[in-house]
């Protein structure tokens, strides 16, 4: 018997993206992205800085409206949908931001309790116990009365993750779990992500550019660059792609730029009058 979800039950897409297109000031950031994320899958989105990972994530969360294309979240269209419908969908999502995005004026425990206090009619003691369980899960017991400004980067991420999973979401989005962390703390977060999938059967979408983390947690990896999908598949499938951009990302090589001299001079002298 397999110990992962990957090859046990037939899957249906938790997230489906079709023809997603977005541009800023005439520059295409995402052009015609098509992909699906299956239920119970850990799907890692990778790409170099500026490849559009954060823009893609904002679209998946309904924080930005696509110029073209469709996003289906848990079988429902994200656009067009009323604000109330989007909020109902979001109650089934958890989002852990890169720097935690905890509300600065609240203690750690108040931050974690916030979704429960807003969306449930549970009594205060039940909410407190549930929040402490998540704090224990994230190894943050004893820090409940700390303010966000008193926590380290790794603790902020873990507290953000605790808040993201407090409602036991069906899909968890995690933006850059390992960015700015030492290897031990990053590995600890990877273990937490795997544990969440194992215990709660969550679909998890992770945006990262940390290869070590992707190798450890991903069922499938999607690499984006130059506005499009450069590769999608299991780690082995992605690694076998001959594309130089993919290889530079996976092997941390500098990407060779093919420029002619005129283009270089044009860039240097752009928008200079005299």
């Amino acid at each position: 018997m397999s110990d992962t979800i990957t090859d046990t039950v037939p899957r249906k897409p938790a997230l489906a993206v079709r023809g997603l297109t977005c541009s800023f000031d005439g520059n295409a950031i995402l052009s015609g992205l098509d992909f699906e994320v299956e239920e119970g899958e850990i799907f890692v989105i990778m790409g170099s800085s500026g490849a559009g990972k954060t823009t893609l994530l904002r679209h998946l969360l309904g924080l930005s409206r696509p110029q073209l294309g469709e996003i289906d979240l848990l079988g429902e269209k994200l656009h067009p949908a009323s604000r109330e419908r989007v909020y109902q969908l979001r109650r089934q999502l958890g989002v852990a931001f890169q720097h935690g995005a905890l509300i600065n004026s609240m203690s750690v425990i108040d931050n974690i309790e916030l979704p429960l206090r807003q969306h449930t009619s549970l009594d205060r003691s039940t909410i407190r116990i549930m929040s402490r369980m998540k704090l224990e899960l994230m190894n943050l017991a004893g820090f409940e009365d700390y303010m966000p400004a008193q926590l380290s980067g790794g603790m902020l991420k873990r507290a953000g993750l605790a808040r993201a999973v407090i409602m036991d979401p069906r899909i968890l989005f995690f933006d850059e779990p390992s960015a700015g962390l030492d290897p031990a703390t990053a590995a600890e977060l990877d273990t937490l992500i795997l544990r969440l999938r194992e215990v709660h059967n969550m679909t998890i979408v992770v945006v990262t550019h940390a290869l070590e983390s992707a190798v450890k947690i991903a069922d499938r990896i999607m690499i984006i660059g130059a506005g499009g999908i450069r590769a999608i598949g299991t780690l082995g499938e992605v690694q076998s792609e001959p594309d130089e951009y993919i290889q530079s990302l996976l092997q941390r090589r500098t990407l060779r730029r093919e420029d002619d001299g005129d283009a270089y001079i044009d860039r240097l002298t752009a928008n200079i009058d005299d």
Binding site: R58, R90, V95, H99, F173
Partner: protein, 263 residues
């Protein structure tokens, strides 16, 4: 060059119009939440404490000194015409009609408006507002509506405190220092102040409260769309300065308009 001038001109004309439109949409998005204040009752109470209770001292001190200065200035003028008996009327009318609502509003802008704008702008800058959205918590209902309701309740009450303490300050200068009869001070005030003056005071304080909270919260909330296109610490600082300047000027403009309409 001509193209650049054209673009810059159109940007200068269109940008304020776009900003005005965004402020209108902001208020429209908020309006539904203002009709359901009980939803964020605890939050609203917290804001009422911050905006109202914690402003009482500074409003009382300012009101006291303003009342004393007004009495001093009027005494110096009235004594030349032998009309010091009108000191109470002069102090009462100038405070109730004009000084109390305007100065309370300016103090609230400095103490509360700037803090509200900076706090919301920092939340926008650090993705905290996006985090609320992702938790299916409407930031208009959770962040902005309690501040709106609390400001609209607190500012008229603070104005009333300013009036009372200001009149007491005037009494101290007129009655205690210059020995005008206490009866003359209060009788002339009671004779000259009519309900219309009190109504003007209330209308002004409510209007100023709305102006302050609208401009300060919208400026912070819409930081990412600000025309200065600066973010981080500098963006928050510029936005807060803009909010204080814009709300102060708008309060003074509104003061003139309301006075012109009601006098």
């Amino acid at each position: 060059m001509i193209k650049r001038i054209g673009l810059s001109w159109s940007a200068q004309v269109l940008e304020p119009l776009a900003a005005l439109g965004r402020f209108g949409i902001f208020l429209a998005q908020l309006s539904g939440h203002l009709m359901r204040p009980w939803r964020q009752f605890r939050n609203t109470l917290g804001q009422l404490h911050f905006i109202g209770t914690r402003s009482i001292t500074v409003i009382a001190v300012a009101g006291g000194f303003v009342g004393m200065v007004v009495a001093l200035q009027f005494y110096d003028t009235l004594v030349r015409f032998g009309a010091v008996g009108l000191l109470g009327a002069a102090v009462g009318l100038s405070l109730v009609r004009e000084l109390a609502p305007v100065l309370t509003a300016l103090i609230v802008i400095g103490r509360v408006g700037s803090a509200m704008c900076a706090e919301i702008a920092i939340m926008r800058n650090d993705n905290q507002i996006d985090a609320l959205e992702c938790m299916a918590i409407d930031p208009y209902g959770y962040l902005v509506a309690p501040r709106f309701i609390a400001t609209i309740i607190a500012v008229p009450l603070l104005t009333a405190i300013f009036n009372v303490v200001g009149i007491a300050g005037g009494w101290f200068v007129g009655v205690v220092l210059f020995d005008i009869g206490e009866g003359a001070y209060f009788a002339s005030m009671a004779d000259s102040l009519v309900w219309r003056d009190v109504l003007m005071d209330v209308v002004k304080s409510l209007s100023f409260a709305l102006i302050i909270v609208w401009i300060c919260t919208a400026k912070g909330y819409l930081l990412h769309l600000a025309s200065h296109r600066t973010f981080g610490a500098e963006g928050v600082s510029r936005t807060t300065t803009d909010a204080v300047v814009a709300s102060s000027i708008t309060v003074l403009f509104a003061d003139y308009v309301i006075s012109a309409l009601m006098l």
